[in-house]
């Protein structure tokens, strides 16, 4: 163990005296403190808002807030109505939609309902201008009327691919919601529940209904977070219990380890509650990570006690020995883990900063509990003599040591070759942070949204607020013409489903005012005409159907919205940048606006995460190099053993590129926080190797085999627990979490592989040099005297 033998004895004696003297106070006092801190959990609020992923000063965020202020909020719920007969223009289906519209208008928080039936259709006969709902009393409509409505709807650019599909087989109700408190417990779910009950009140045996939109997506974020908490944590407890018991064969060991793990998770959640953090879907992976990381600490202390008692020491002496042996190494491994997670603070995304801080707090709490509370508890608990006879599960890894000492040159060559072969696959990772991909296919909202995207409309968009430079300017010829050009340009771009702008409204009005003559479906001839059309139109629209969601109040700017099919972040980037450039090149300065939307914000976040990946990784490397140098007390050794710590992430990313190929922002963090965990095994290996070399007068080869004998099993077991712990996250329906778990597990598994083969090979390389060939055959390994798997010393 690093530094343990050299640590000042007097300090540990004083520390142990303190523990022994105040053991009851420590056990109960800390439990009280734990309860007090854990009570902060009550302050935690779940936040499912997608926007939590962005910093408030993000320019695209500000653009979106501008749009919310000038026009309307974009929280929406889309009810997709799909009759089984493939035709929405039937009495039955239109009547159903009408009833849903009436329900939706009464629904809590709903500010506006747009639907096929309540769409305000403008018509004129003679000098009468009629604006009325496209469908009224569908139940009594004749086949001719149904045909007329179908003809109008399928020719209206404002309805098409928004509220009705081009073939008329699917229709939508678009509910715009206004949540005053932005509270995801009391608001969104209330609206969803209302609509689900409304659907139940109106039987629709021959019609399928799907719910999607931001309200549903946000809710799924919150729900999958809650689901994670409810399923993954119990599963994690089960896994920990099984693993610890399997390896330690001791119930006391299992229960105390479990206690440390649960208390760490609970206390850290309580602390972030007091800190005022909000629970996001990303944060819910935190407790599982904490449990995974902290489990080793308790086991280390406990097994040291058992080992000491096996050697014949009394309980008190055994605990003293355990504290002495573990305090510094646990501090070091905790420090590297905390530093690894703290690099997440470089992220631009608050939920990931929170996650990094949460796990850091958890790891620190785990450390304090392991070196303070656990020893005091062990002093208080009646540990019986038979504890010393506990037979823990031990793996014998001598053979690996023997293999490495015989083949270390080949291992180095093979590692170099496989790395050269694998690393290029990193480039196959395509950056993707389209938020629909955040959810696994098993979630209903994912299925509903996929159906919507395939049949009605997209969920990815870009929005603009195009300024006209002056009040009333949106109806000027120049402005409308430029907006029309912009729309035309967008319609030629790939992935574009629908473009909506004030131009559609004005053209429709021009046509209507000229006796519905199709040749007048163009921009009005004068500025004043456009303005006066809008006046007439607005005077005719019923409450809740006005144009304020498209044109701001003094008519100095209008909203321009483009809807896309599913696509990659990269495709969105191309279109967005080209569109901004188009505006710069072709439109007057007042019209310029940086296109924005939730999808666009995720794209910027994605890009920043690439920068983070590099920064975080570099910072992580710097940190562990320092830690390695401190632990090995050698500049050269510290530097060279960086390799087995960096390669696992890189190779894991290569394998990911080969097998998955899509990288979201969550996996960007894996490289930095796994570094802090991965390095522990190297520290264990090197420090033990050095001590064996120093204390036992063995050759490098003999020392290598001996190191495997004493440390191999515990390295294997602690890595196995980590891998299994992170694999638990794979079960999360929230793909950010499951991918993070998967990649972490892969990285950690690889790290064991590298620590078993590459680390000793590199050590031998340093000791022997590349040229020297004389490698004496290692002596046969001494018979293993059954050291428990968890033994770290």
């Amino acid at each position: 163990m690093p530094a343990s033998s050299a640590a000042p004895r007097a300090f540990f004696d004083a520390y142990f005296e303190f523990l022994r003297k105040w053991r009851h106070l420590i056990v109960w006092g800390m439990l009280l403190l734990v309860v007090a801190l854990t009570s902060g959990v009550r302050l935690l609020r779940i936040n499912g808002d997608l926007n939590v992923y962005f910093d408030k000063d993000n320019p695209q965020m500000q653009g979106l807030e501008h749009i919310h202020r000038e026009y309307e909020k974009t929280d929406n719920l889309l009810v997709v109505v799909a009759p089984r007969n493939g035709n929405v223009f039937t009495r039955q289906t239109l009547d159903f939609i009408e009833q849903l519209v009436a329900e939706a208008q009464r629904a809590p928080f709903v500010a506006r309902v747009d639907a096929l039936t309540s769409y305000q259709h403008v018509s004129s006969s003679g000098d009468d201008l009629t604006v009325r709902s496209l469908v009224e009393n569908a139940r009594t409509m004749s086949p001719a009327e149904l045909a007329r409505v179908r003809r109008i709807a399928l020719a209206d650019s404002m309805l098409l691919k928004r509220l009705v599909s081009p073939s008329g087989h699917v229709a939508g109700l678009f509910l715009t919601a206004n949540f005053p408190k932005k509270d995801f417990i009391s608001e969104g779910p209330t609206l969803i529940k209302f609509m689900q009950e409304a659907l139940a009140r109106h039987p629709h045996p021959d019609i399928d209904v799907h719910l999607t939109g931001t309200v549903m997506v946000d809710n799924a974020f919150a729900e999958s977070g809650a689901q994670d908490m409810a399923t993954l944590i119990p599963l994690m407890i089960l896994v920990i219990t099984a693993l610890v018991y399997y390896f330690s064969r001791s119930w006391i060991s299992t229960l105390t380890s479990l206690a440390i793990v649960l208390l760490s998770a609970a206390v850290s959640m309580g602390i972030i509650g007091y800190m005022g953090m909000e629970v996001t879907a990303s944060l819910t992976s935190g407790p599982v990570m904490i449990m995974t990381i902290v489990i080793a600490d308790g086991i280390h202390v406990f097994t040291s006690v058992i080992l000491a008692m096996k050697r014949g020491l009394g309980k008190e002496e055994a605990v003293r020995e355990a504290v002495r042996l573990n305090m510094v190494p646990l501090f070091l491994t905790t420090l590297t883990t905390v530093l690894g997670y703290l690099t997440m603070n470089l992220s631009d995304s608050p939920p990931f900063r929170d996650l990094g801080n949460l796990v850091s707090i958890g790891a620190a709490v785990g450390w304090v509990l392991s070196i303070l509370w656990l020893p005091a508890l062990l002093l208080v608990l009646p540990l019986r003599e038979q504890m010393a006879r506990t037979q823990a599960k031990v793996f014998n890894f001598d053979f690996v040591g023997v293999f490495v000492t015989r083949n270390w040159r080949r291992i180095l060559v093979v590692t170099a070759l496989t790395s050269a072969l694998m690393l290029p696959f990193i480039t196959r990772n395509k950056l993707n942070d389209m938020f629909l991909d955040f959810f696994s296919d098993s979630l209903p909202v994912k299925q509903a949204t996929t159906f919507t995207v395939n049949n009605l409309t997209g969920i990815y968009s870009i929005e603009y607020s195009l300024g006209a430079g002056r009040a009333g300017g949106v109806t000027s010829q120049a402005y409308l013409r430029k907006t029309e050009e912009f729309a035309k340009w967008f319609r030629q771009q790939p992935h574009v489903i629908q473009v909506s702008s004030v131009v559609d409204v004005v053209k429709t009005l021009n046509k209507t005012m000229h006796g519905d003559s199709a040749s007048y479906y163009r921009l009005p001839a004068t500025d004043a005409l456009g303005a006066q059309y809008l006046l007439a139109y607005e005077m005719s629209l019923p409450q809740g159907q006005n144009l304020t969601n498209q044109i701001n109040i003094d008519k100095s700017s209008s909203r321009f919205r483009v809807v896309f099919q599913n696509m990659y972040t990269e495709d969105l980037r191309k279109i967005e940048l080209a569109a901004n450039q188009w505006l710069r090149d072709h439109a007057p300065a007042t019209m310029y606006f940086d296109g924005t939307s939730t999808s666009v914000m995720f794209r910027y976040l994605s890009e920043k995460n690439i920068r983070f990946l590099i920064e975080g990784f570099s910072l992580g490397i710097l940190t562990i190099v320092i830690c390695l140098m401190l632990a090995t007390r050698s500049f050269r050794l510290g530097l060279i053993t960086l390799l087995p710590n960096v390669l696992p992430s890189l190779i894991a990313f290569s394998i990911w590129g080969l097998l998955v190929g899509k990288v979201g922002m969550a996996v960007a963090f894996v490289t930095s926080f796994t570094l802090g965990i991965v390095v522990d095994n190297t520290i264990h290996f090197i420090t033990k190797y050095k001590r064996i070399r120093r204390e036992q007068d063995l050759t490098p080869e003999e020392a290598t085999v001996e190191t495997f004998r004493v440390a191999g099993s515990s390295m294997f077991v602690s890595t196995l627990i980590l891998v299994v712990g992170f694999l638990v996250l794979v079960l999360s329906p929230f793909q950010l979490n499951s991918h993070m778990g998967m990649l972490s597990a892969l990285t950690l598994a690889l790290s064991l592989f590298y620590d078993f083969l590459l680390t000793p090979s590199l050590v031998l390389l340093l000791e022997r040099g590349l040229r020297q060939r004389a490698t004496p055959a290692p002596r046969a390994a001494p018979a293993p005297d059954a050291k428990p798997a968890m033994a770290t010393t």
């Binding site: 009333g472 004043a528 006046l535 019923p542």
Partner: protein, 263 residues
């Protein structure tokens, strides 16, 4: 047991009857109060006035709308109004002719100078906003009082004044209100506050009108109205200035064919 029931039944019936009686009385009283209000505010014959609307957004920004109004009372119906839009510039010269009917949906015609043709707004739905303001067409004028069912629900002292509180339900199926609470000042028989409740029965808008007496104190007409939409935080402040009861209006101009000639 039976005896008790026998005694109880008439008692219950009696109570129910009394209750019905009081409801009937309260409705009759409400009708009387509304009659009083209408009497208070009609009889002006005709006038011209400058109407100014200030639309104040939730963020404090505000916009002006100016309309010159000509109003002529209709003896057998209610009133006819021509509004000539003065600002904003892009709609200047647009004109609106409104027939406020006592017993059926109002009629509106709009004249757009750029189109140079009057258009009848042939909608039965009057729930839309008037000129981008928080005032709906269905809120305009006092003819609306004739197209509602009124109940006197309570009497209340509010901000130092005594009010009758009427719960009124618009007859139109297109209304955007579930009901309206009208506070009628017991001293003046004028509405001191009107509270509009949306279809979800949540408070939607609060209207505080102010009246002044004209024509030798024979009639009350509005001089200011603060309509606050409590749901979106926007307020429309309307003021009426320069009441002119001598302005001569040719009644034939208050017709769809000729109203565009008014300036």
């Amino acid at each position: 047991m039976n005896k008790m029931l026998a005694a109880l039944v008439p008692a219950v019936l009696l109570a129910a009857a009394a209750q019905a009686q009081s409801y009937e009385n309260s409705d009759a009283r409400a009708k009387e109060i509304i009659g009083h209000v209408l009497k208070n505010t009609t009889g002006y014959d005709h006038y011209a006035v400058d109407m100014q609307m200030q639309l104040i957004l939730e963020n404090g920004k505000s916009f002006q709308r100016q309309i010159r109004q000509y109003v002529v009372e209709q003896p057998d119906d209610f009133e006819r109004t021509v509004g000539v839009f003065k600002t904003p510039a892009d709609v200047k010269g647009s004109k609106i002719l409104m027939y406020a009917h006592a017993d059926r949906p109002d009629d509106q015609w709009l004249f757009l100078p750029a189109l140079n043709r009057p258009k009848r707004i042939a909608n039965e739905n009057k729930s839309g906003a008037f000129f981008g303001s928080e005032i709906a067409f269905e809120d305009l004028g006092n003819a609306k009082l004739k197209k509602m069912e009124h109940h006197l629900v309570r009497e209340e002292t509010y901000k130092g004044r005594n009010y009758y509180v009427l719960k009124s339900t618009p007859a139109s199926k297109y209304t955007s209100y579930s009901f309206i609470e009208i506070y009628i000042d017991k001293a003046t028989y004028l509405d001191g506050e009107v509270r509009y409740f949306d279809k979800k029965e949540k408070l939607y808008k609060v209207d505080v009108p102010q009246y002044r007496q004209f024509k030798k104190n024979t009639i009350w007409l509005p001089v200011r109205q603060d309509m606050k939409n409590v749901q979106n935080g926007r307020t429309t402040v309307t003021t009426w200035t320069n009441y002119d009861f001598t302005y001569q209006i040719d009644p034939s101009y208050l017709a769809p064919e000729k109203f565009m000639k008014m300036e």
